[in-house]
């Protein structure tokens, strides 16, 4: 096939961007500057929309650029910027090499389903139920595949290399701990990846033109785009070659018609036509979009059941859930609320604006951020929470708020963070070592950055923890450090709405002059 320069450019650029996204999402060493991450993620559609409406800030204007570009050039976002789209192109290429499958052929659109999902996503998102967008958003799905599937592999690989280097006494590369691994998130990402691999194998960008809300929206806009692909009927002999290369399966060569709403502007068709019958140029009249045709029965049923499942899931999402950790033994920790990330303002704001892309999970230096399952209720599926059994939130760190692309986690000022109360520490004396074994412990108090947990006199010389909830920041250091098993003797219950902690007293100690004598 004579490949057009536009196509080659598209492939090159999309691969570069794909690599950049992957590097950002999988930055194990924390070396990528926050500003770079922010500016690259700026152009991701769904996060940008949510960011715009939650913060009403310029940082959320990326989606307007995408909309404008679609009005001019068609769905170039889908072929260039969307990492899930590029991932599908890559898997299609690989599977084609392995299976030698035939290329594509024209298929009917699932327009009704398309718009149904889009409307559901929009209504649910406005209503504060993020599950539909979480499950369908291309960026978040790609991001979860990276962090849930690729990241564990990279960590294992890194640690393997470290073990080898260690044998020759090289300690410059550190091992990476893996505290925030969540099997549910990994399995979910694996399922998505497998499903996508099959759909791309059979029908190219089927996901993008049936389920993806961004694809649906941009597809609607691209009907009116300035530049678009057109078939010159005088040159076209309906040989179908272009359709074979069209991964959107949107070229009906018999009817000399291109369904531009499904076209992802990949330029594959341009060079494929032996008689130069396809061109990419300014449209003369509104694009002709084929009417809704029934797809094959099987496909329709499958896709409608998917939509039905989505609907029922979102209905269930209205049921809030309390989280219960552990089985009954000594005294289980009873958390009324999960702890949401610092800067998320609390349960309400966070669950209503997080698309569960897991960028914060991947970048969190202490790995305290972990994908949830149903701790936030069904609608909060996979939205991250702070797991204090795995780790605790660093007192000075504000990274999650700086990188969050949706504005679910706001950026915090340094002083703000130190006085932000994510929850309150609760002491369960009956589980405490000092009470049960009558020996010293105090691991909780050691780790507390504000000394909200103090050791106070108990029996004999023993000291026992006492919590001052006013100055507690809810960082979870106490809970993490507490050595009791299986239940902790101290834990943090998250706030529905984050509060401001009081400042610990800082009476300065008297500085003594150095004298000449020693006390021994």
């Amino acid at each position: 096939m004579a490949s057009s320069p536009l196509r080659q450019g598209r492939i090159a650029l999309s691969l570069i961007l794909f690599l950049v996204y992957s590097v950002i999402l999988l930055d194990l060493s924390g070396t990528i500057p926050v500003r770079f991450t922010q500016s690259v993620l700026f152009l991701q559609f769904s996060p940008s929309v949510i960011h715009f409406f939650t913060l009403a800030s310029l940082a959320g204007l990326g989606f307007i650029i995408i909309i404008l570009s679609t009005f001019i050039l068609g769905r170039v976002y889908c072929s260039l910027l969307c990492p899930l789209g590029v991932l599908q192109d890559i898997t299609a290429r690989i599977t084609r090499m392995i299976t030698h499958r035939k290329r594509y052929h024209y298929s009917m659109p699932f327009r009704k389903l398309n718009y149904m999902v889009l409307i559901l996503v929009i209504i649910a998102t406005i209503a504060g139920l993020l599950l539909p967008i979480n499950l369908t958003d291309p960026y978040s799905n790609f991001s979860r595949i990276s962090t849930g599937l690729v990241r564990p592999v990279l960590i294992l690989l890194n640690n393997g290399i470290v073990a080898l280097l260690e044998k020759i006494d090289i300690f410059t590369l550190p091992r990476i701990a893996f505290k925030n691994f969540k099997l549910t998130a990994t399995i979910y990402s694996a399922i998505i990846l497998i499903v996508l691999t099959f759909t791309t194998m059979w029908h190219g960008r089927l996901f993008c033109n049936t389920v993806c809300p961004v694809g649906s929206l941009l597809g609607f806009i691209s009907r009116y785009s300035l530049f678009r692909f057109q078939i010159d009927e005088t040159h076209c002999n309906s040989c179908g070659r272009c359709a074979a290369f069209c991964k959107s399966e949107c070229i009906d060569s018999k009817a000399h018609c291109i369904d531009v709403s499904r076209c992802v502007s990949c330029f594959n068709c341009l060079g494929s036509c032996p008689s130069s019958g396809i061109s990419y140029k300014r449209g003369q009249k509104p694009a002709i979009v084929p009417d809704l045709h029934p797809g094959t029965d099987q496909e329709r049923r499958a896709l409608f059941s998917y939509a039905a499942a989505l609907f029922s899931l979102s209905a269930l999402a209205f049921v809030p859930r309390e989280i219960e950790t552990g089985k009954p033994s000594t005294l289980p920790e009873k958390k009324k609320n999960p702890v949401c990330p610092p800067g998320s303002k609390g349960f309400e704001h966070f669950t209503k604006s997080c698309t569960a892309c897991h960028l914060c999970v991947s970048l969190c230096p202490t790995q305290v951020l972990k994908p949830s399952v149903f701790e936030y209720g069904l609608s909060g599926f996979l939205q991250p929470l702070l797991d204090y059994h795995a780790s605790f939130c660093n007192f000075e760190c504000r990274l999650c708020g700086q990188v969050c692309p949706t504005g679910a986690i706001f950026p915090l000022l340094a002083e703000e963070k130190k006085l932000l109360q994510l929850g309150k520490s609760i002491f369960l004396k009956e589980n405490c070592i000092v009470y049960t074994r009558k020996t010293s412990c105090g691991a909780c108090s050691e780790h507390c950055p504000s000394k909200a947990v103090q050791m106070v006199p108990y029996k004999g010389n023993l000291k026992i923890p006492k919590v001052n909830q006013d100055i507690c920041v809810g960082c979870g250091a106490c809970e993490y450090a507490c050595p009791t098993k299986p239940y902790k003797a101290i834990f943090v219950d998250g706030h529905r709405i984050h509060k401001k902690a009081k400042r610990p007293s800082e009476k300065k100690l008297e500085q003594k002059k150095v004298t000449e004598d020693f006390p021994f």
Binding site: P174, A443, K451, P483, L509, K512, F518, P519
Partner: protein, 307 residues
Amino acid sequence: MKRRDFIQKSIGAGAIAGTAFAFGGFGRLLASGLYEPLLPFDLVAVKGGEPEAMFEKAILSLGGMKAFVKKGQKVVVKPNIGWDVTPERAGDTNPKLVARIIKHCLDAGAGEVFVFDNTCDNWAKCYKTSGIEKAVKDSGGKIAPANTEAYYQAVQVKQGKNLKNAKVHELILEADVFINVPVLKHHSSTELSLSMKNLMGVVWDRGYWHRNDLNQCIADYATYRKPDLNIIDGYRVMMRNGPRGVSEADVVTMKQLLISTDMVAIDAAATKIFGSEPANIPYIKKANDLKVGRMDLKSLNINRIVM
């Protein structure tokens, strides 16, 4: 495999031949089972100077670093890097002191000088904020990670009462010379954090210690691998809210430094400097009972230096 072989070899060589110098401090200790007999003082206490200058005086009065480090030896310097706090907060060992110790080791001919700590806060942040990572690199040492269990090897603590097994950082097991450099500070669980407490940063499962009488476990572990040299940084001292501290308001500049091969003695002396009594620090008494060292400061030959 390599490590285990090394340990077995060194034990064998130490016991049979008693060739002290072939295996550095470890060999010496195993061979003699006694305190360093060659040193002119049991303990050196310096006050009134900058961290580097006080260390220079102290090590000189013990015969210089050459008395401890031989050519080509592998040295581990273990400061306290437990917390993500700046040097002014005195939660971690003074980076200037760490740098000067490394320089002396290298000048004495050390092959490599490694520095690490099993930190409490996020390790990468601790290494950076404490200023120790930079100090180590600038002075020619090597900063090593200690953040996952894979760096630790299971050992037996034969003389331990509560602590019979521990997982110890492989660098400690491989080192010819082990220099322990804690910072003197208040500690909410054990009253004070000193040289024996600082050894909690070379083991993996500290939760076990906390569950099984923390003070006893600290004393137990002190019987396992005694450092060849202990240097207590008392330049800035956290007087309350330890071990992490809340702000600089918790810190008093004391300008003190202690140096000794005897962990019990140096901890007892540091306790006095802090303003407490060694008998009130449970792990000092327990370690004394286990004959890790001597807490009776009157019986020691102490060199007191005022700058």
